[in-house]
Amino acid sequence: MTKTILCICVLAVASPAFAQPGSGSAGSAGPAAGSGTVPTSAKPCPVYERLPGGGWPAHCPQAKSELANAGSATPAAGSGSADAGSANAGTETAGSPTPTAPDFPMPAGVKPTKVCLDEMDKDPEFADYIIKRTEGKLKDKVNTEQVLKDLCVLRDHTDSQVDVATNKRHVIMAYIAMWLVAAGFVIFLWRKQQLLKLEIENLRRDLDAATKDGK
């Protein structure tokens, strides 16, 4: 359930065309969201089993508790889509009692986009469902899957950029390289100087020897 809620929230952020009636607050099966009427013995049906008209198949526990939970599922945490969600909830459940926002157990430090994409990767059916839900609404406006992937990539890039920006490793490497080459060249020049001195010494000695012999 968490993954569905997360995905739909993130999609709500990513696509402005999402604020339409019936577009889905998913979590009528939201975790413990004041839904004491959900029988604990029966496992709730996943969201993608919901009927096209908006109702639930008869075997799903949601069918019995729908009235109590309808429209209350949009979580307030995480992706800041509360406005869109509650707008959805408002339009969808006109006439039902005011829903309470569920106590959304979002663990600290979780990245919603990553969770969403991970779940999509793990479960192809789920990925299909998410894509159909959004593409059905958006048609050719936005390639939602690509947008989600781009968001993850952008986050990685920003992380590595921040890393590069805050460490001084590269500058120090560059400065060391410059000093090494400069030192190398100076040592090279110095060695040439020493060899020259030796050459001159040899020449002087040979000249002395030759002129001494000549005498």
């Binding site: 500058v171 080459v181 020049l189 002129t211």
Partner: protein, 243 residues
């Protein structure tokens, strides 16, 4: 008088180095601006969020400019040597090429480190990097020919230097249109450099110009002395004084 040129430039260069380092690390701000669509900080000149790594610029660019100056000097003095056959030109050419190899090595290494910091790769086949690498390879070939080609090595190497100098515009034109190289200022022109960075930049240019002159003058003197010793020995052998 010319005896004191090299130490003079060395002294000036040392002062310049102290000034430059001080200016780089205290006076030049870390420039960045917020780009809301990408949601991260970027350098004000638009060359990516380099922050501290931008300081490499002050080492890299003067070395690159000195490299091109050295190659120009080498080409011109090679032409002079081939034309006048005066060995003094050849000494200048050899010294220029040696110094160009050293400065080119620093340019390539610091450029590569900057590339890693800015773009994430150690090397890409972009216009200026390719040109610098090919130029550097030609200069190393010059030194190899000087060393291992025997008596006629000087002439052959001088020919190489002329070809290299003429080939530079071809290498430049060869590497294609799009230039991803970080620009020095808003127009890629040093004159449009952000005014905060100018003092450090000009200080580093002066420092490395002094360093370049020091090295070149020292190397010219060394080459000249080597040649004189060699000629003296040959004269001694010719006259029969030495064996």
């Amino acid at each position: 008088m010319t005896r004191y040129l090299a130490p003079l430039f060395a002294f000036l260069g040392a002062i310049g180095l102290a000034c430059t380092c001080w200016l780089i690390f205290t006076d030049t701000p870390l420039q960045y601006s917020w780009q809301p669509n990408n949601r991260h900080w970027v350098l004000a000149t638009g060359s990516g969020s380099l922050f501290f790594n931008q300081k490499i610029f002050f080492w890299h660019v003067p070395h690159a400019i000195m490299l091109f100056i050295a190659v120009g000097v080498a080409g011109v003095s090679s032409i002079g040597f081939l034309w006048k056959r005066n060995p003094k030109w050849d000494d200048v050419a050899l010294a220029s090429v040696s110094v160009a190899v050293a400065f080119g090595a620093v340019t390539l290494i610091t450029g590569s480190i900057w590339a890693k910091a800015a773009w994430g790769h150690w090397w890409i086949w972009e216009k200026r990097l390719t040109m610098s690498l090919l130029l550097w390879l030609t200069l190393v070939g010059y030194l190899l020919v000087r060393r291992y080609a025997g008596a006629s090595g000087e002439r052959i190497a001088a020919g190489m230097a002329v070809f290299a100098m003429i080939g530079v515009p071809f290498i430049y034109a060869m590497v294609g249109a799009g230039d991803n190289h970080p620009q020095a200022g808003s127009e890629g022109n040093v004159a449009t450099l952000n005014s905060d960075m100018r003092p450090a930049f000009w200080s580093s240019m002066v420092t490395f110009l002094c360093w370049f002159l020091t090295l070149t003058i020292t190397r010219v003197q060394s080459a000249r002395m080597e040649r004189e010793v060699r000629e003296l020995r040959e004269k001694g052998l010719d006259t029969g004084v030495l064996e």
